[in-house]
């Protein structure tokens, strides 16, 4: 089946992102495709390129990127939620006159309309909330 996950919880403050990541690996292990993870609300902090947790703790940003690398999962971030929270890719940083970008590929800024699209094009959409 084609799965999509919606992550609404920020990393290191709620379990939502950890639950979603474990669900993604379990779904893949059962032969499903986790085609998209959509980050919304505080969930957008999962995409912070500047995240630098201690080395003996799970690195969620890297773990999401690894999911993209090994399984092709699209990592989509709501642009409106991201800009409010200081998560900008190079193009948005330039547009808003900021000195640096905090979001890089494989994460991609996208519109909320994409979430509606996901709900119609994937067979399952599972929400992980704070």
């Amino acid at each position: 089946m084609r799965y999509a996950l919606l992550v609404l919880g920020g990393p290191y403050s709620h379990q939502a992102a950890h639950s979603a990541l474990r669900f993604a690996h379990a779904a893949i292990a059962r032969g499903h495709r986790v085609e998209t993870v959509f980050f919304y609300h505080d969930g957008v902090y999962n995409a912070s390129h500047l995240s630098a947790p201690p080395q003996d703790e799970p690195h969620l940003v890297d773990a999401w990127s690894e999911l993209r690398r090994t399984h092709g999962t699209a990592l989509q971030v709501c642009v409106a939620a991201a800009l409010r929270r200081g998560l900008l890719d190079a193009r948005e940083a330039e547009r808003h006159g900021k000195s640096g970008a905090s979001l890089e590929p494989p994460f991609e800024l996208t519109g909320l309309g994409q979430l509606l699209d996901i709900s119609q094009t994937h067979e399952r959409l599972i929400t992980f909330a704070p």
């Binding site: 379990q15 639950s19 669900f23 379990a26 059962r30 399952r124 599972i126 929400t127 909330a129 704070p130």
Partner: protein, 96 residues
């Protein structure tokens, strides 16, 4: 058939009452994260009439030291079993 996901303990949030009101007769309820506190014997009374369709995530029970305290009426599933439940359900509804 829908699968409802609940991540709040009945002792910390009344949202489980909304879940029960919304559930259809065949729907399942999956307790995850802090929701698994509702699976222990002293708390399971908050989920009447759900025998055979009340589930709790093993990993989250173990993370909270509750693995041995889960009520016999609750079906313990691991992450693989959680995914299987989402396969069977037409849709999942997350409550938080």
């Amino acid at each position: 058939m829908l699968l409802h996901l609940l991540n709040r303990a009945p002792s910390s949030s009344p949202v489980h009452q909304d879940v029960l009101r919304a559930m259809g007769e065949e729907d399942g309820l999956m307790l995850i994260e802090d929701g698994v506190f509702g699976a222990v014997s002293a708390q399971v009374k908050h989920f009447p009439g759900l025998e055979g369709r009340l589930f709790a995530l093993r990993e989250d029970l173990e993370a909270r030291g509750l693995a041995g305290r889960c009520d016999a009426r609750v079906i313990i599933v691991d992450m693989d079993g959680f995914v299987a439940l989402t396969e069977d359900a037409q849709r999942t509804v997350s409550w938080f």
